[in-house]
């Protein structure tokens, strides 16, 4: 085409990034990579390799090592060996390493960007302008935390050896989200990059070497799912951090249930993109471009469900179609294309299959005449209309450039539709009214809500999901907590296995004399007889009969959860109100303390009983104090945005109380849960369930709304299974022996509810450091980051 013709046609010309330097780097490694273990390249023990290729043209880029169980073992051993010295470094010394990593990433930013584009297929513009700058930012930010660690987290210590598994959609960025906080907090790392995109992780390994990071602090083992599985199952790993599909996340939850491994999961999503009639529609359309067409839609927080207010739906759809028509697909190294290649043939097939299923279900599929390159894995931008909440394309994560659009009538319906999903990763809300936008943001079940923007990320702002989008946060202060635990916790001794209730003894005993005392279940503010119609004996210190407790069963748990979920208004009330009720509870316990202690003494002895009452009153005061003080934060990411980090309650929390301190143990767990605004279903002490009778009388007289606390007595080991697997329970706290804790973890995998346990260890309930405060409140809440832009 002559210049004169170009002058008239005004087409975009090709603007290819030269990949030469990246190829030079690959050639320098002879296009063959081993694992990076203990600071050196190691050939795979089984001498197996696999190829990684450019998805835009199918060309092989290099071969990489297939990690075996023994490779993982070598890496974990190296990380373990490196741990003491790494932890012995001063915070400043660790900060210097993180700073050097950030600097080195910046110095080689273009090579990393080109490598990422070659390996992943995403546009170079995204790698260059989004991924790699965010990677550097993540290391800078965490270099700062490394330095401040002891000042800001005086009571915490590192988990130890951390196993990390990352996905292929933002390979190096996800690596930075994993490695930076782990190193800043003094952990050592074994990381497995995704099978499709190992190259930038290997380039990062080389950077670790270049800056002189001590051997073994970061180990990179490449491989497929089996390599990841070996890492998850390795007995000497203290924590697993995983980003990937919900399906694999669930498998990891199950696989780690019978270990003490900490777990954080960042999983799938089907995030709503909500457009109100008063929004700037043109901006909303550009938001969608970033929301669903960034990285070809292969983004866990992609705004894949468009919810449009009915009044503007047709106008908006017309604008979207126009905009889609100007999207350009092309070779990913072209600096001015919008859509690159899909990462693999497998993924392309999945996108095609889901879109076809959607069409079969009656959706209307619209695609512009986007010119797609021949060869390579490409899929055009796609809009599906005539979809409903029942449509597969509205429920399942497609992980492709596919937008499904439907309408809503009112703000309340927008929220209902948005929350009608098992996921809860992110949401985007568009309205020119900040009041409307914040009102909606507060009601969405999502870890990140972007107001009038979308897909914004920063190291200072936690990222992570609600519900089956996982748990734990990456970024911000909350992200660091995923790699820390209270310093005393790991060395706490194991609880001895808890004996079964006294009812197994055959010795007959008669009930105490006087008027019969019937302790029932407490559900929805009512004292109820158990569904089973059975009771269980409760024996004292010397085997004497103290009374009988209701024998709750599966259906009682069901009813209690229903009642707890109905009481969700507790969270919407003010924190001040919750504090007032807790103070009233303290007042009432103080009045009746003597009498309760006397009864409790028969089960635990006089000394413990009176101490439990005394500490309980203080503990109630403590959480009444906390109720309106466990505030969130306001972050200042380096954009024209603020991000409001709110500590939100989880919802309904199941609580399995420790057996050993019937009153104080109950309150130590239930108080933070309800102070934060959760409702709860509690299984009280196995040893002395009769405490329920005293507690519900206290709750009743303290104006605690019906259903906020529900108590089901019975065999803990059975009830906890029902609670742990109940999909209406958002989190479960289990403080018991090792076997109960493992069962709870294993049974929680269904809806991936958050699990907080004592890991079967002894908690000193009379020691304030161990038994109350932030550690508990952090587990009673989840952080929602609401991004609000400045300017018009």
């Amino acid at each position: 085409m002559s210049i004169a013709e170009k002058f008239v046609a005004l087409d975009y010309g090709p603007a290819l990034e030269d990949p030469k330097e990246a190829f030079v780097w690959l050639d320098r490694h002879n296009r063959s990579f081993g694992h990076f273990i203990n600071g050196a390249w190691q050939p795979p023990s089984e001498e197996k390799y696999f190829d990684t290729s450019d998805p835009s043209n199918g060309e092989k880029l290099a071969r990489v090592a297939q990690g075996s169980t023994s490779d993982i073992d070598a890496a974990v051993k190296a990380a373990r060996a490196a741990l003491p010295k790494w932890q012995a470094l001063s915070p400043h010394a660790r900060a210097l390493y993180l700073y050097a990593l950030a600097r080195q990433i910046q110095k080689h930013s273009r090579r990393l960007a080109v490598l990422e584009t070659l390996d992943n297929g995403k546009p170079i513009r995204e790698c260059r302008d989004i991924d790699i700058p965010l990677v550097a930012r993540h290391f800078y930010y965490h270099a700062g935390w490394a330095h401040l660690l002891h000042q800001e987290f005086p009571d915490y210590t590192a988990c130890g050896v951390v196993g990390q598994i990352i996905p292929w959609n933002f390979p190096l960025l996800m690596l930075s989200w994993k490695i930076a906080p782990a190193l800043a907090t003094g952990n050592t790392v074994v990381l497995k990059p995704a099978e499709f995109t190992p190259l930038t992780a290997l380039a990062f390994a080389e950077i670790c070497d270049e800056i002189g990071l001590p051997p073994g602090v970061v180990n990179i083992v490449t491989g497929d799912g089996s390599t990841g599985e070996a890492l998850v199952k390795h007995p000497d790993v203290d924590k697993i951090a995983f980003t990937g599909s919900t399906e694999v996340g669930r498998a990891i939850r199950t696989a780690t249930a019978h270990s003490h491994k900490r777990l954080s999961l960042e999983l799938g999503g089907k995030s709503p993109f909500i457009v109100f009639e008063d929004s700037d529609l043109d901006s909303a359309v550009e938001g969608l471009v970033d929301g669903i067409w960034l990285n070809q839609g292969q983004v866990c927080c992609a705004g894949s469900r468009l919810l449009m207010q009915e009044s503007i739906a047709e106008t908006l759809l017309a604008k979207i179609r126009n905009r889609m028509s100007t999207l350009r697909a092309g070779p990913p190294l072209d600096k001015s294309i919008d859509l690159g290649a899909i990462v693999s043939g497998v993924q392309l097939d999945r996108i095609r299959r889901l879109v076809n299923q959607g069409i079969e279900e009656g959706s209307t599929c619209w695609q512009p005449d986007t010119e797609l390159p021949s060869g390579g894995f490409y899929f055009p931008p796609t809009l599906l209309t005539d979809v409903h909440p029942t449509s597969i394309v509205m429920q399942q994560e497609i992980f492709g450039p596919v937008l499904a659009a439907m309408t809503f009538r009112t703000p309340a319906e927008a929220v209902e539709l948005a929350n009608n999903t098992v996921y809860g990763l992110a949401a985007s809300v568009w309205s020119e009214s900040v009041n409307v936008a914040l009102q909606i943001a507060s009601q969405l079940k999502a870890g990140v809500v972007w107001v009038n923007c979308t897909n914004m990320f920063d190291a200072s702002c936690g990222f992570g999901g609600y519900r089956e989008s996982g748990f734990g946060r990456e970024g911000g202060k909350e992200g660091l907590l995923e790699y820390l635990e209270p310093w005393w916790f790991k060395s706490a001794p194991a609880l001895s296995a808890q004996s079964q209730p006294a009812s197994v003894t055959n010795e007959k005993a008669s009930l105490p004399s006087g008027i019969d005392r019937t302790v029932k279940l407490y559900i929805g503010g009512k004292q109820l007889r158990p569904d089973s119609g059975y009771s269980m004996e409760v024996r004292g210190l010397n085997g004497e009969m103290l009374g009988e407790a209701a024998l709750g069963n599966r259906k009682d748990i069901r009813n209690a959860v229903e009642a707890a979920r109905k009481a969700a208004g507790w969270a919407r009330g003010s924190a001040h109100n919750r504090a007032q009720i807790l103070y009233y509870l303290a007042e009432n316990l103080s009045q009746r303390g003597q009498e309760i202690a006397t009864r409790l003494a028969a089960a635990v002895g006089e000394e413990q009983a009176s101490a439990e009452v005394k500490f309980s009153i203080e503990r109630i005061f403590s959480y009444a104090a906390w109720a309106d003080k466990f505030d969130g934060a306001v972050h200042s990411p380096p954009f024209r945005n603020i991000a409001i980090a709110m500590n939100e309650p989880l919802g309904t929390v199941g609580v399995i109380c420790p057996s050993e301190k019937p009153l104080l143990g109950f309150l130590s767990l239930v108080l933070p849960v309800i102070a934060a605004g959760n409702t709860t279903v509690v299984v009280p002490s196995q040893a002395y369930p009769l405490i329920a009778g005293d507690l519900y009388q206290l709750f009743d007289t303290s104006d605690l709304p019906d259903g906020v606390v529900n108590i089901v007595t019975g065999h803990s080991a059975e009830l906890l299974k029902t609670l742990a697997e109940h999909e209406g329970v958002d989190s479960i706290w289990c403080f018991g022996d090792e076997s109960n804790v493992s069962v709870v973890k294993a049974f929680s995998a269904g809806n991936l509810k958050q699990v907080f346990t004592n890991e079967g260890r002894v908690i000193e309930w009379f020691d304030i450091k161990q038994s109350e405060g932030r550690w508990y409140l952090e587990h009673a809440t989840q952080v929602k980051n609401i991004w609000v832009p400045y300017g018009e």
């Binding site: 002559s2 210049i3 004169a4 002058f7 046609a9 005004l10 043109d282 100007t326 018009e792």
Partner: protein
Amino acid sequence: MDLTTLSGDDTEERVRRLCAKAVRPIQHELIERLAVEPLKVQVAAVCVYHRFVETARRALDGSDVRVAAVSTGFPAGLSALSTRVAEIRSSVAAGAHEIDVVITRALVFGARWQELYDEIAEFKNACGSVHMKVILGTGDLLTLRNVARASFVAMMAGADFIKTSTGKEPNNATLPVGFVMTRAIREYGEETGMAVGFKPAGGIRSAKESIEWLALMKEELGVSWMNSSLFRFGASGLLNDIERQLEHHVTGRYSADYRHPIA
């Protein structure tokens, strides 16, 4: 591009120099080496004060370059309405092909949209068939909402073009303002079927910046808008940089400003 000279020290000779550059904006040698003679590359208009309309018209006689007069109490636009309207009529009578009017920013701040509409409609009436560009003074309006509202009122009142700035406001054409104005033009077109032109003016000095604006036009309004009847740069310094970049394209060597004849 509209080549512009709007300074207190303008003289007839200065205007004639500008006109000479307008007719032959790029050195012949470059045109030849780019093989673009058939395009007959010229600027769209020369933009001057009323006083120089006739000078410019004579200097441009025989070319397709149009004469645009800034009018209506440019740049503040605060003289009496009758004076402003009379000014338009004089420039039209003097042979201006295009009139660049400025709006009364006070009417925007006061949300006196009807008055603004009436004022611009009166300007249009005075222009008759002569092409009218309405300068919003976006650097004064400051908020994007005001820019959007003023854009709509100007178009409804008969603007053939909406233009960002006089070049005298503290802020000139910025991309956010460009987005708002082009989107307003798009929406107006969708509502009425009428194509209104866009002229960013002031502050665009490099070829690289001009590419950003061209991309904005292509993305927001499409290629059909990318010709001189619907899109103009209002600039004085931009041309020299474009010439330098063209020379670089032809020779492979970076060029220097003094190598290209000034206006």
